[in-house]
């Protein structure tokens, strides 16, 4: 399985990151993220940290089809809840993640439904 992953993603720029992640025993998921970071022009994945009761960065701009992953690094659980209710996570505990793929253009304001002073926005445009 890992061998196949390596084969399909054996781009020169990606390989070193892959090798590090694999040596740490991280799932292939991480390496795909590394691949996305390595070639921003084709980025279809993006990560938002939930840190110190804030979304970082609070505003991101992505192209349609981009998958955004929120990672909670706080000791408190948080949620990612669209103000217009178009998407919402369950409670994301420490080190937990939530992923959503934005297919349509538009501005998507969201907040943490547990700590509503925490707000963010995903701007999707082609």
């Amino acid at each position: 399985m890992l061998h196949r992953c390596l084969k399909s993603l054996s781009l020169r720029t990606v390989f070193p990151a892959m090798a590090i992640m694999l040596s740490l025993g991280a799932p292939a998921y991480f390496s795909l993220q590394a691949a996305a970071v390595a070639s921003p022009a084709k980025a279809r994945m993006l990560t938002v940290q939930i840190k110190n009761f804030a979304f970082v960065p609070a505003v991101v701009t992505v192209t349609p089809g981009t998958t955004v992953t929120w990672i909670n690094t706080d000791e408190d659980p948080h949620t990612v809840t669209a103000t217009n209710k178009s998407f919402h996570s369950a409670a994301i505990d420490t080190s937990g993640r939530y992923t959503f793929t934005f297919r349509k253009a538009g501005d998507f304001a969201y907040f943490c439904s547990l700590h509503p002073h925490m707000t963010g926005k995903v701007i999707v445009k082609a």
Partner: protein, 314 residues
């Protein structure tokens, strides 16, 4: 608190008591008249608004059963210690108010564990939800299945005990983006009706999870529509508002209304603005017990103040 002499606790005395540092909350309504009420019985009973009899009660808060992070790797153990402290009180409180965040993640197993621990005190317990108690997929389904029976709306209710009117509010549901805690128009309308028949001399105790006054807006430590609720409360001679959520003792007095946030039994949080975030505060292990606690309340006959004493777990 028992060192306070007799029933001569006036407002100044009350504030002195309140300034005491301690852990856990117990409400003592004077004299050890040990009548007890269950929620169902209280809600079913015809309201009786009579003479205030002395008694005590206890407040406990933010037990966060399930929390195991560095700020307190064993929040269960400190909750057990807090309940042991309640059992050892020289004057048995009539009941316990738990001001929310019973659990850390609203899991059934966490609720069950918390319930077993607090019930070991052998006292009636009244709950209000914290946001940690309503973060299941059903947005409070687990909490309401366990504690919502006989309550109104999303878990609010009131009851009378020896002449004092207790009001339990939920300010953690349906929160709005960019806002703070929220009561909602349904609950505010209910509160107005609930208080309507009471004489202004009736002592009122309101308990809810998040502060009903703005402690620190940047961290969401307040309730955005509390002013409407407080409007209904202003005519009363004595209103005591108890909350948890911020894991530290802070008070404010506004006319006849006094606000008191209590310590947690799980972990402390920073003073308003004193850290980059309001998240759990890690203190040296040997100091942890001195920042956790319970609170007792004492209702004294013929006086309109309720004396609160905070006691730490140290």
């Amino acid at each position: 608190m028992t060192e306070h002499r007799g029933d001569i606790i006036d407002r100044r005395g009350l504030l002195q008591c309140v300034g005491w540092a301690g852990t856990g909350a117990l409400y003592l309504m004077s004299g050890g008249v040990a009548s007890s009420v269950s929620l169902d019985a209280a809600l079913a009973a015809t309201p009786r608004h009579g003479k205030v009899k002395p008694f005590t009660f206890l407040q406990i808060s933010d037990s966060h059963i399930g929390f195991d992070k560095p700020a307190n790797p064993n929040a269960r153990a400190t909750f057990v210690e807090a309940v042991e402290k309640v059992k050892a009180l020289p004057v048995k409180p009539d009941f316990i108010l738990h001001t929310g965040d019973i659990t850390h993640l609203s899991k059934d197993s966490e609720f069950a564990d918390a319930d077993d621990i607090i019930r070991s005190a052998g006292l009636p317990v009244f709950h209000v939800p914290g946001e940690h108690d309503m973060l299941d997929e059903g947005a409070g389904k687990a909490y309401l299945a366990r504690y919502g029976k006989g309550t109104r709306g999303l878990g609010w209710y009131s009851f009378d005990h020896d002449g004092v009117h207790f009001v339990a509010l939920n300010n953690v549901s349906n929160l709005k983006a960019g806002g703070m805690a929220h009561l909602g128009s349904d609950q505010i309308a209910w509160l107005k009706r609930d208080l309507a028949g009471l004489a202004s001399s009736t002592p009122i105790v309101v308990f809810a999870h998040i502060p009903l006054w703005t402690v620190y807006a940047e961290w969401g430590w307040g309730t955005d529509d509390s002013l409407q609720a407080l409007t209904s409360l202003r005519r009363f001679g004595s209103v005591t508002v108890l909350n948890g959520h911020i894991h530290q003792v802070i008070q404010k007095v506004e006319g006849n209304i006094s606000f008191h946030s209590a310590r947690s039994t799980a972990y402390p949080q920073p003073a308003p603005g004193a850290a980059p975030s309001p998240g759990p505060l890690k203190v040296p292990t040997e100091q942890l017990h001195s920042v956790l606690g319970i609170r007792t309340g004492t209702v004294v006959t013929g006086r309109d103040g309720i004396a609160l004493i905070d006691t730490t777990l140290a």
